[in-house]
Structure formats: C-alpha cells, structure tokens
Amino acid sequence: MAEYKRPTTEAEFAANFHPKKPLMSDTEAYYESSRCLYCYDAPCITACPTGIDIPTFIRQINNDNKDGAAKTIYDSNWMGHACGNVCPTEELCEGACVYNHQDVKPIEIGRLQAHATDKVIRSKKKLFITGKPTGKKVAVIGAGPAGVSCACELRMLGHAVDIYEAREKPSGLCVYGVAPYKLTNEEAVDEIAYLQEQFGFNVHYKKPVTGRAELDKLEKDYDAIFIGIGLGGTSALGIPGEDKKGVMGALEFVEELRNKHHATPVGNKVIVLGGGNTAMDAASESCRMGAESVTISYRRGPEEMGAYSFEFDLAKKSGSKALFNVTPVEVLGNGSVTGVKFIRNKAAYGKIEEIPGSEFVEPCDMVLLGTGQGKQVELLKLVSGLTLDQKGRIVVNENYQVDNPKYFAAGDAMNGGVEVVNAAAEAKRAAHGIDQYLKK
C-alpha cells in the first residue's frame, strides 16, 4: 500500500512533503488574478474571518501592484502569508467564491495571497508606519499567531510591546503544528521577522510565563497584558496501556516531524485515534513518512468527524485507511505497543452504544493520539479574576477583555482551538480592546 517511500534524506523528505499549495509564479498569479470577477460586496470577503478585501488585492496583483496587494492583505490580517498557505480556504473564502455556483473552479485566493505577501517578505518592503508613541506598554504572552497579530496592531496604535515566548522560535503552531506540506518553518518565521522589522515589537524567547511571581512582574511593568498562549499538549485518552512505547500524541508527533523531518521515527503500522483535523494531519504525515499502513479510527461515522472533509480526503489520498464506529479499549503490547483492542459501536438515538462481544485487535507498532489538546489551566488559574468555561477556554467580553480588566485574550486559548486566521482576526480586535482600555 505504501505510496510513499520512507524518506532518508532532506531531498526525499521534501519530495514526499511537496507543498500542497505551491508558491505561484508571476505568470500563474497573473492568469489566476485575471479570472476574478471583482464581485460587488464579495462573498469571499464575508467568508474570510479577517475580512480581507480579496477582490481588491487580486486586482492589485493583476495590475502589477503587488506591494499594494500585500498591504491590502496585511491591513486586515497580520498573518497574511501563513494564512494564504494554511487556511482551510475550501471552507472559507474559496468555498464562498461565486464561481462555485457556476461549476467553475473557484479563484485560488489562498495561493494568490501567499504570492503577494511572499514578494514583500522577500523584498523586505516596508508597508506600514507605526502609530505615534502613546507611552503605554503592553506585555504579550506567546508569540503565536494571536500574540504576534496583537503586537502588530498595538504598534499601529502606538503602544510599546514586549512579547514573552516560551520557545526559541516564534509563530506557535505554525512551526510545530501545521502540516509541513502547508507551510515550512522558514516561511513561518520569515513572516514574523518581516513584521517585527517593521513594527519593532520585542520578543523575549525562552521566557515562559509560568508562575504568580512572573505575572506580578508583568502586572507591575505593563499597562495591559495579552494572553496568546494557545493550548497545551495532547490530552490523555484514559485507557490501559496508553503509556506503552510507541504511543504518542499526534501533536507531539507533528512537532517532532516539523523539527527533525526525515529523522523522525515512524512505525510500519500506524494507528491514529481520533476524527479531528490533527488526527487527519498525523495520518497524512505518517503516510508521507513511509509507514506501510496507516489506519484512522473514529468512534462514530464519517459524517460526524470533526475534520474538514478535504482533510480526510487528503489522508485517504495519501494512503490512510479508516475504521469507523470503533472505540479503543486497550493498547496492547509488552513494553512496546503491538496492537490496539477496539470494540465496535452502533449509533442509537444520537448516542453511541458498544456492541457487546465485538472486540477485535488491530495490530500496529505505533499509536498516535489525536484526542485533542489540553488547556493550560494551571497557569490561567493564577490570574486573579480570569474565568474559564467548562471546556477550559478563557472567557472574554466583546473587547476580548477578561474579567480582570488588565488582561485580554484571543486565539486558541480563548476559542478552544480553531485556525490561524481566527487567532489573527480576534487578536487584531483584542488590540483595539486594549487600546480603548488604555485610553480610558
């Protein structure tokens, strides 16, 4: 079955992880931009969570003004380049393009967006002038899409910004979560460097905010604090054998893959537990790493999977199989994993019911848990007045302000984990919330 040979060199890795949306050449961008109809009150804009003026930037590409196109994109979305590559455009802008109603291929908005922003990132063209200094200082926790977007917008509004980032690289899940065939580490980091160069916010790497003492200092030194820490590691599944060698979180697997590329160990028979986008990514990526067989297992039917259908399609195209209506009951093995015992389910009144006696074992040598990310509850509980909902998400008002007025939050930590574009949209608005608060 293996459609992909196990990569042993960087070149083989790159071939297996060929970009899903390769950068457009000038000619392709010209042809594609020529097709845009320039719709009135265009539905693609409405479908973009950041509301980019898509027909305008496409027209700017077509009229040989790529700096202008990039400016239009960044005006609405500070993660313009990352989003062009990683957004689920099929579900957003491109899914709303009017051409779909004509059974014509929608405009490749994501790739056009990546094309225009790539130009300015490479030419280092300065497109923005930061706001007149207000003398106010804001601390941002986390240099992921939310943190960086908030920082850029705050700088536009004239506030000084210091970002505190736990890791040694910026851009959060863009460098350790998103699939490598969507965005490379360099692309993700270059965009942040480009923004930092223009906006002059400070990033303090390897400076996790972990305890009350650090929070005290931030509260003392800054006029406001933005929380953009995203989510935590993969949650445990809670079944026997989960600690065996060869069982790991899908997220942790992806992270390793993003850093070690072909040197990442991958089993021959991989089982991915879960029906979300992270599970689909882990499955597609295991296939590309040359696993002999990759099996996605999900407790319910295919139509109920949380993943976008195009992500499931990609996983299947990459070579994954899927088992539906099965619940894992035990990870088997003697030290190392040798298989997963499942029980079959049937749907009854919207709930799933196990079918007694239907247990079976699916042999494997690696299990990836796509069981969702935990929340950083420990840390968040230290912020006085901050409320979490039952799912561990930070509760904010319409200005993205938490109950403690000095704190604001957006991105995965607040929305529970959506997409980069949501983090960018929310964080930009949160910056305006902060601005209003600081003006009072």
């Binding site: 109809l37 719709c39 409405t46 509301g51 003026d53 077509n62 009017v98 109603h101 004509q102």
Partner: protein, 449 residues
C-alpha cells in the same frame, strides 16, 4: 456543401480568406506555406522602393491575461529588392495557379507607378492593391495615408494605375479620415475595381511609465504607429458598412481589421465584404488558424442553407438604419434567470453606479440574487453585458409590438422636446433617487467613506 469560392472584381480564389499585405506576406516562402495550409489568397507585402526599418517595431495592448487584443507597428513597406519579390511571385503563381496573388504597391511618381504595375503583372499577379493606408513613415514622404487622406490625389493615382493595369485594381483605404466614403468614392471615380479596408489606425498603444516613452521604444524614443488586431474590428466593420451602403461607392469590398475566426469573417461578409484579409491573427497564431476558420464558415453556411458567399453577402445591410428611423416604442427590460445567477452582483453595481439604479439587492444578505426594478429599467443592456453567466440576464420585450414611432416621425409631427425643461423630455418620469440618498445608503465594509 458550401461553396467557398469567391470572385472579387475578377480576382478568383478558392475561399474568401486572404492574407493582408504585411509581414506574413513578406516572402514567397511564407505565402506558399499559407496556401499549402489552406489560405485562399495573399496580398504581397507592399512593394516599392525598398525601405530601411528600425529595430523594435511592434507594441501591443493586452487585456488582462489576453495578449495582443490590439497590436501596433512602426514598420514600413518591403525592405526587399523588387526583383526578388517578382521572382517569388512567379514561383508562387506557378505552383498555386488557382490561388489569388495580389501585389500591393506604393510608389511616388507616375512613371514609377506605370513601371511597377507592369512588372508585377508580368510576374503573374492576379490583381493589384494600392496601399494608400500606411499611417506612419510613408505618409511623411507623401505616400500611404498622405494619399489616402486626399481624395483628389488618390483619384489621380488610381487613374495613373488604370492607364496601364490589365488586372483588377483594389484601392486600400486608410481609416485615418473622418468620412471613409470620400476616398472610397474617389477610388471609384478613378476607376478602381474594388476597395479594401481598413488599413491600420494611427495609435500609441501605451507608454513605458518608468522610461516615459511610448511603445515600441527605439533607443529611448518612439513614434506613433498603426493599430490593428481584434480591438479595431468594430471600427473596420462600421467603415465597411459605410462603404457598402453608399450608393456612389458601389464597389466590391475586401474587408480587413481584426479578423481572427470564422465568425469575424461572417460579420464582415454580412456587412458587404466579398473577401476578408487577415494580418494580426496570423502574426499571433500562425497560418494554422485557417484550420478553425474554414470548417467554421462551412458549418455556418450549411446550417443557414447558404450555398455561396454571395448568398449572404450584405445580408445585414438593410437592417442598419439611421438612429432617427429606430422604433421608439420598442421596449425591453432586463430579466434575471435566478437558477443561473451566481450572485456576483456585478449587474447591481453596474446599474446602480453606471446606469439607472434599476437593480435591487435582497434585504436578506444570504440571498445574493439581485432583482430588476422594472419601472426603472430603461433597457440599456448594461447588466446583461456585465453578467458573467451566459444567458443569465436576458432582455425581454415588454411592448406589444403593435406601435411604431420613430424620432424622424416625431420630428415631422413636431412632437419632440424643444426647450431645456420641455415636458417631452424622455427621462422626465424616470425615478432618480435624491442626491443625498447616496450618502446614507448602506455600503460594503471596504468601500471608503
């Protein structure tokens, strides 16, 4: 099966598709290749005293991803010695006796005209085309469009040519003139057997906005050129129509300007042309386009039951009237086919900003299908032209077809607006929003203001 053979004032060709005098007809090699590919005739690149050309000669107008919708050149007539051309004419005629080879000519003195006419006839040319059209380079020397713009001079030269010519003479007209029928009538008066039109239109196709020089650029400088290609077809069609309709012109026509497919050819023929000539399309796509053109025309003729080109030549002419003879009682309004509409709302913004505010949007933002406000629709067609979906907006007839009243008739009856605030103003009862409503109207997020 349709019979495509044509006879233009005695010049016969197996089909109406000729190459226009231009680079594709520069040499016997090219013309043989074209005939072999299926072209019916060729007007040889204009012969005369050979010129010296500049390097960097063409410019183009691109529309979005479409290249060369308009094309411009600053080339002159042939730069090859006459004797080489004459030898090749003979060779081509020997190999393709049934194809039309027309020699395009441009010289100065009467003696030169007499000499060159005899030379090309001796070489075997089936006809002569007088190039009075070149709008650059040659006219400054008193030739080309300098002649074409002076009906008297034009007539005189046609007369010189006719003094010696034994083969039919076609006069090629320049469009760089306000009334094309004046040189056409002069050509007739001089004894020309046919006319061909249009030659290129004086033009600047664009300016290099970094170097501040128009295209094409010759060592940092430029000059006006001659415009042709698909963009000029409407101008050519109108001029062909003017000549075809004018009773004092009454000459066979070879139509030129922007022809690139069978449909273009049909349009020229419907407006009175007997043959068509092609230059830019061949310079763009090569002689091979004839593979689409010939079967296209045949299929059209078979479908319509036309046996010969003459069966439909000029068939659209009786339907072209003066404006004052059009029926003012005829009324169409736009109609949107909701099942085809893709919701781009281009029709809305076109009518709202560029026409008559006769299209409304639904108050439900989820419904992107616009609707026509019938009372306001004047039937201008704009929305149906901008709509990207074929046959989605159609113009539907609303009058009962019983009444007929023209501006001419109204004028004769004294029933027309005469004063500035005349109650007979056509738009008097047309609803127009109050100016200030423009500022309170809800607009999409990205629109300024």
């Amino acid at each position: 099966m349709a019979d495509l053979r044509t006879n233009l004032a005695g010049i016969k060709s197996p089909n109406p598709f000729w190459l226009a005098s231009a680079p594709p007809t520069n040499s016997g090699y090219q013309i043989m290749k074209a005939f072999d590919a299926g072209w019916g005739g060729a007007v040889w690149k204009t012969l005369g005293v050979p010129v010296v050309n500049v390097s960097s000669r063409y410019g183009a107008v691109n529309y979005r991803d479409k290249r060369m919708v308009g094309f411009n050149n600053i080339e002159l007539i042939t730069d090859r010695p006459l004797k080489d051309n004459l030898r090749e004419i003979s060779e081509v005629k020997k190999r393709f006796p049934d194809h039309a080879v027309i020699a395009s000519l441009m010289v100065e003195t009467k003696e030169e005209w007499h000499q060159i006419v005899r030379d090309v006839e001796n070489a075997g040319a089936d006809g002569i085309e007088l190039n009075f059209g070149c709008p650059h380079g040659m006219c400054e020397r008193g030739m080309g469009s300098a002649v074409g713009q002076e009906p008297k001079v034009l007539q005189m030269i046609v007369e010189w040519v006719k003094e010696v010519a034994k083969v039919p003479v076609i006069t090629k007209l320049t469009p760089n003139i306000s009334d094309i029928t004046r040189p056409a009538r002069a050509a007739r008066a001089g004894g020309s057997d046919a006319i061909s039109l249009i030659n290129t239109i004086q033009s600047i196709v664009g300016v290099d906005i970094d170097q501040f020089v128009p295209y094409p650029i010759v060592d940092g400088k430029s000059t006006n050129g001659g415009y042709c290609g698909p963009a000029v077809k409407p101008i050519a069609l109108n001029m062909v129509k003017n000549c075809a309709q004018h009773p004092d012109v009454n000459l066979p026509i070879s139509g030129i300007g922007g022809v690139e497919n069978w449909r273009d050819a049909v349009e020229f023929i419907l407006l009175g042309a007997t043959t068509v000539q092609v230059c830019t399309a061949v310079m763009h796509f090569g002689f091979g386009i004839i593979r689409e053109i010939l079967p296209g025309l045949e299929r059209y003729m078979d479908e319509k039951g036309f046996k010969t080109i003459d069966d439909f030549r000029g068939k659209a002419l009786p339907n072209i009237k003066h404006w004052e003879d059009l029926n003012l009682k005829y009324k169409v309004t736009a109609s949107i086919n909701e099942s085809k509409c893709i919701g781009c709302q281009l029709c809305y913004t076109a009518c709202e900003d560029g026409a008559h505010q006769a299209i409304a949007l639904s108050s439900d933002p989820a419904n992107r299908i616009p609707s026509i406000i019938d009372e306001n629709c004047v039937g201008c067609n704009l929305c149906s032209l901008v709509c990207p979906v074929e046959d989605c907006i159609t113009m539907e007839r609303r009058d009962d077809g019983k009444e007929h009243l023209t501006w001419g008739e109204r004028t004769a009856a004294g029933n027309i607006p005469k004063t500035f605030d005349d109650p007979l103003a056509g738009g008097l009862h047309h609803w127009v929003p109050e100016p200030a409503e423009a500022l309170v109207k809800k607009k999409p997020k990205h629109y300024k203001g």
